[in-house]
């Protein structure tokens, strides 16, 4: 067993113990006298309406996923631009080529999203219906 990993193991152990002590301690020592008002979810003093476990519109997930893709792109491209100037000339072409391929793929993806309407918040069908309703009024 490589001995150099032992400190990490100890760190894991310590983290677990400290967490257990803190959570367990408050749970053991703290007085618990629940009333309905106390157990209710905190909503700035307003009486809660419905369950807190509500489902979010799927748009949130979609946007989050798209964000990750471009986030990763930035994470790749930023160091690339920093480094590219320092590269030897014969390597530069190859590296730029790789980066271009990567960017092209992302651009195609981006075009696809744009055209498919994945970046529009409103549901296009719903949107048209609402517009028509407004006109009629």
């Amino acid at each position: 067993m490589p001995a150099e990993y032992v400190p990490i193991l100890i760190l894991f152990g310590l983290a677990a113990v400290i967490t257990a002590v803190m959570v367990g301690g408050s749970w053991l020592l703290g007085p618990r006298r629940p009333t309905p008002a106390k157990t209710a979810p905190y909503e700035c003093g307003i009486t809660p309406v419905g369950s807190a476990r509500e489902r979010f519109p799927v748009h949130f997930y979609l946007t989050a996923m798209l964000f990750i893709i471009f986030d990763v792109e930035i994470a790749f491209l930023y160091p690339f631009f920093v480094m590219v100037r320092d590269l030897p000339t014969e390597a530069r072409g190859f590296v730029i080529g790789v980066a271009t391929a990567f960017a092209t793929l992302l651009i195609i993806t981006f075009l696809y999203e744009l055209k498919k309407g994945a970046l529009e918040w409103e549901d296009p069908v719903e949107h048209r219906r609402l517009k028509a309703e407004l006109k009629n009024q």
Binding site: D86, L87, E90, A91, V95, L105, I108, Y112, K115
Partner: protein, 495 residues
């Protein structure tokens, strides 16, 4: 700063995969600018791409190249299996449009997804670098998850997609963990080093344990993809739930890809034979028994074919356990034949979409009256799946059987023969019911769409051609295996 090593690249080895990826991207963009529901150009571009890739692939026959910093390779095994994948993809691409229209699933995404999946499958076979293999596996799998759930109006399709996704992710995790352990043991993710480090490693050391665990975990991940028992549980649900064209594709292509990797991995791990052969032995036995016996009691043709594909995976595993020239030849031969048979069989089932998509054996009764050609094609495909001469299926089993005897796996050979008999029972039952009278009043005759006729003819000619003259393919497979065993590589890489 350190000098950057620019790898020298032999582009011809990468060309087939790149062509397919290019075609996929082209189709993806094209779909945006076409009027909704018009898919013929997509299909044509896709077919063109596959054809071109096939041409590039054929041109690589005989070469043994390793390139791109040893992450990509091309040898005869890759050529054979990639061609099988390309042909299966082409066939599915050809007949899918009619099915999608009949089921009212006009999603243009089908085409790029199928092509991406194909590229992924090809990538899996064209590398010994496990990270690249994993990349291919994920590209293939992710595309397949979406394809499975393509019929999003149907609960069953969605359920299948979710199941496939969850279990597939689980299996990928096993595979990835196996790769990680391998890296931990030897500091490389190339499967060809596994045997070297096994031989070099000192008994009782940590490295040893890591290698053992790594191989076992990778087998789990690949066993899942190949639908080997006990990792086959997803197969019937997913095959049944997925749109039939997607099923046709995944049944053929992911089996070829998974067995291609298994073939490479296990032959690279030859020195560890003592370790993996009992595992694969049990897996082969279990797959043959479970697949064939459970298929016997299925009422739905798609489910039946799903279980039978587990059985076929078992036969192929017999070839891997035996690990000699004959049995590996058999594995390659069988994979090519199996791809053709499966695509054809699910293709015929996809025709049933017109009749309300009932794919139960009862619904298939009397097909010969309604659609004589489809019934005839199905009958031949079933005979081939059952391994009855003169079809390609017979020779596949024959080589595997001989290989098993040669490799001293007598029990597996006997079980292979016996379960083939069980298999013949349910295949023939289906065949007979095609020619029996329908339970209800015979529906009107309908014609098979032209692309489907072409596909079925290709399948039938291929299967019967291979059945009558198995030697060319058998010889090529043998050459491929021999070259791999000799390990002659021309490495194009480095400074």
């Amino acid at each position: 700063m350190e000098a950057l090593n620019i790898p020298q690249v032999e582009w011809s080895a990468l060309l087939p995969v790149l062509t397919v990826v290019g075609a996929a991207l082209l189709v993806l963009i094209l779909e945006l600018f076409l009027p909704r529901g018009q898919h013929t150009p997509l299909m044509l571009v896709g077919l063109l791409g596959l054809g071109l890739a096939g041409y590039f692939q054929l041109a690589l026959w005989g070469a043994s190249l390793v390139t791109w910093a040893e992450t990509a390779l091309s040898d005869n095994i890759a050529v054979l299996l990639n061609l099988a994948i390309l042909v299966s993809s082409g066939l599915v691409l050809l007949f899918a449009d009619d099915y999608l229209r009949a089921r009212n699933m006009r999603y243009g995404e089908f085409y790029p997804l199928l092509l991406f999946a194909t590229a992924g499958a090809m990538l899996m076979i064209s590398s010994t670098n496990l990270m690249v293999v994993f990349l291919g596996l994920e590209v293939l799998s992710l595309s397949l998850y979406v394809l499975t759930g393509l019929a999003r109006a149907e609960v069953r399709s969605e359920e299948a997609a979710l199941k496939y996704f969850l279990l597939g992710a689980f299996a990928s995790a096993f595979f990835l963990y196996g790769i990680a352990l391998l890296y931990g043991a030897q500091g490389s993710v190339d499967m060809r080093v596994i045997s070297a480090s096994w031989v070099a490693s000192m008994p009782g050391k940590m490295t040893n344990a890591l290698l053992v665990a790594s191989l076992a975990l990778m087998l789990v991940g690949l066993g899942f993809k190949a639908a080997l028992a006990p990792f086959h549980m997803w197969t019937p649900d997913v095959y049944q739930g997925a749109p039939t064209v997607a099923t046709a594709y995944m049944a053929a292509v992911s089996k070829v890809a998974a067995f291609g990797v298994l073939l490479r991995l296990l032959s690279a791990a030859m020195p560890m034979l003592d370790l993996w052969s009992p595992i694969m032995w049990a897996i082969a036995l279990l797959s043959m028994l479970v697949g064939n016996l459970v298929a016997l009691i299925q009422r739905d043709a798609k489910r039946m074919l799903a279980y039978s594909s587990v059985g076929h995976a078992g036969y192929l595993a017999v070839g891997l356990v035996s690990m000699n020239m004959t049995s590996l030849t058999g594995v390659l031969f069988y994979l090519v034949a199996y791809a053709l048979m499966t695509v054809g069989a699910f293709g015929v089932l996809s025709l049933m979409a017109r009749a309300g998509d009932a794919t139960t054996v009862d619904a298939l009764r009397g097909l010969a009256r309604r659609q004589p050609f489809a019934a005839f094609a199905m009958a031949i495909l079933m005979l081939s799946l059952a391994g009855i001469p003169p079809t390609a299926g017979f020779w596949g089993k024959w080589y595997l059987f001989l290989g098993a005897l040669e490799g001293g796996q007598t029990l597996l050979a006997i079980v292979l023969a016996l379960t083939s008999v069980v298999g013949a029972a349910y295949y023939l039952r289906l065949t007979f019911s095609l020619y029996a009278d329908a339970l209800e009043a015979p529906a009107a005759r309908w014609s098979v769409p032209a692309p489907m006729v072409v596909c079925l003819l290709i399948c039938l000619i291929g299967l019967i051609g291979l059945g009558i003259a198995p030697r060319p393919l058998a010889e090529s497979s043998r050459q491929a295996v021999e070259r791999m065993a000799n390990g002659e590589w021309q490495v194009v890489s480095g400074e």
